[in-house]
């Protein structure tokens, strides 16, 4: 299965959310998108956007201030 990686480490609000939305728009149904970032606010915003778009939030993990969010388009 295709997996799109969006690297937004160091980017601040709202860039991670904007890039995530762009990736979702381009993705085919069922495609996995992994967003890697560091901005704390975006770690909250992205899951909310995913929920609002009725997509599946697969995983949120964090290690040393770097978070990963996996979603299914």
């Amino acid at each position: 299965m295709n997996e799109e990686i969006i690297d937004v480490r160091g980017e601040t609000c709202p860039v991670p959310l904007v890039e995530t939305r762009k990736a979702i728009r381009k993705a085919s149904p069922g495609e996995i998108i992994t967003i890697i970032g560091t901005h704390p606010a975006s770690k909250k915003e992205i899951p909310m956007a995913v929920e609002a778009m009725n997509l599946t939030l697969l995983e949120i993990s964090e290690n040393n201030g770097e978070w990963r969010i996996r979603i299914k388009a």
Binding site: R9, G10, E11, T12, C13, P14, V15, L17, V18, R21, T38, H39, P40, A41, K44, E45, P47, M48, A49, A52, L57, I60, G65
Partner: protein, 363 residues
């Protein structure tokens, strides 16, 4: 397991908006200026006056609410392990965005929070201000869609993240060492207004507690008035907007209950009726807020969680307040400042220059 932050839910953000909507009119009832229970721009301007950045005698007071916002956010960030010292995303650009955001806000006479509180108090002049704010944010979102970006931030030593909270703590210490003396315009290093909006304030302890509560909850919920409109325009997402709406409705109801609701255009407290300039002033501020990534309140809350870039925006606003009053850029209830128009034009030129030059077309 994905842990849920209740304040980040829809009802959480509505609760935070509603709390601000109650606290602001109550702070006004307890002494803060009319329709200015809370105003980040005005309060930072008052702080700038209190420490001598400008000499406008009627707007000088160290507003404890601002101190509370930063320290409340700091406490929340530490408690929930979200204190992340970081900086390096075009700090000097952010500084001047803060300067022009403040100039725009002082042409209108209020930040986005006060625009809502003015409307909730019956000041219909705020409608044009809010329309201008939305227009400025909309312009900013066009650049965001095209790839506008101030660049990546980097992890920093905790000392960097502590700078603004320490400064706020220092201001609080100064207030305690040099408290206001009845009838005196100065105590030690601090200026105190004897008349005008700067002389009107709720008791120190009430203001600081309200500020701490709001700072704590806003950090948890990431309450942001600019973000509310930005998300609505960009993504049709109403999460933050629902908090903003709760603030407006609850503040209006609280004002009616407290007999503070005075509908009309004329004679509104700390406001003017130059509708075009209410619109243009807030449009400039709105554009600056989008380009910097947050409304002035949000910049304070981000500063509390260690964001050094947001802290630099706040410092820009403090310096902008100094410029606004030293160079007669700020409005008053009588009308525009002498040099407000060229300052606003300069602000727009600066914003468009930054926006065009920092927009990268992505493949």
């Amino acid at each position: 397991m994905i842990k849920k932050n209740v304040f980040a839910t829809r009802w959480g953000i509505i609760a935070v908006g509603a709390l601000i909507g109650v606290l602001a009119p109550l702070l006004q009832k307890m002494g803060n200026p009319g329709n200015m229970g809370i105003c980040v721009a005005c309060f930072e301007r008052d702080i700038a006056g209190a420490i001598g950045f400008h000499q406008a005698k009627v707007v000088q007071y160290v507003r404890p609410e601002i101190i509370g916002f930063v320290l409340g956010s700091l406490v929340a960030a530490y408690l929930f392990k979200e204190f992340r010292p970081r900086l390096g995303s075009s700090p000097i650009v952010r500084f001047f965005l803060g300067v022009f955001a403040m100039i725009g806000a002082l042409v209108f006479l209020g930040c986005p929070w006060r625009a809502l509180l003015r409307l909730a108090g019956g000041d219909f002049n705020a409608i044009l201000g809010i329309a201008g704010l939305i227009f400025g944010i909309w312009i900013g979102t066009l650049f965001l869609k095209k790839g506008y970006n101030l660049g990546r931030t980097h992890s920093a030593n905790p000392v960097s993240g502590w700078m603004l909270p320490l400064m706020m703590g220092g201001l609080l210490v100064l207030v305690l060492i040099f408290p206001q003396i009845q009838g005196e315009a100065k105590n030690g290093v601090l200026n105190y207004s004897l008349k005008g909006p700067g002389s009107m304030h709720a008791p120190l302890i009430i203001s600081i507690l309200a500020g701490l509560a709001i700072g704590f909850l806003a950090q948890r919920s990431r309450f942001c008035t600019m973000g509310a409109f930005r998300d609505l325009i960009l993504f049709r997402q109403i999460h933050l907007f629902s908090g903003l709406l709760a603030l407006l409705v609850v503040a209006a109801v609280t004002n009616v209950i407290l007999n503070q609701f005075k509908p009309g255009f004329e004679g509104q407290p700390v406001a003017h009726t130059l509708h075009i300039w209410n619109f243009i002033g807030m449009a400039l501020s709105g554009l600056c807020f989008v380009l910097a990534g947050g409304c002035p309140g949000r910049q304070l809350f981000l500063s509390g969680e260690g964001d050094g870039d947001a802290a630099i925006f706040v410092l820009g606003m403090l310096v902008g307040a100094g410029f606004a009053h030293n160079f007669s850029l700020a409005s008053s209830p009588k009308g525009l400042g002498t040099y407000a128009i060229p300052a606003v034009i300069t602000g727009f030129v600066f914003c468009f220059l930054v926006a065009f030059m920092m927009t990268k077309k992505k493949a």
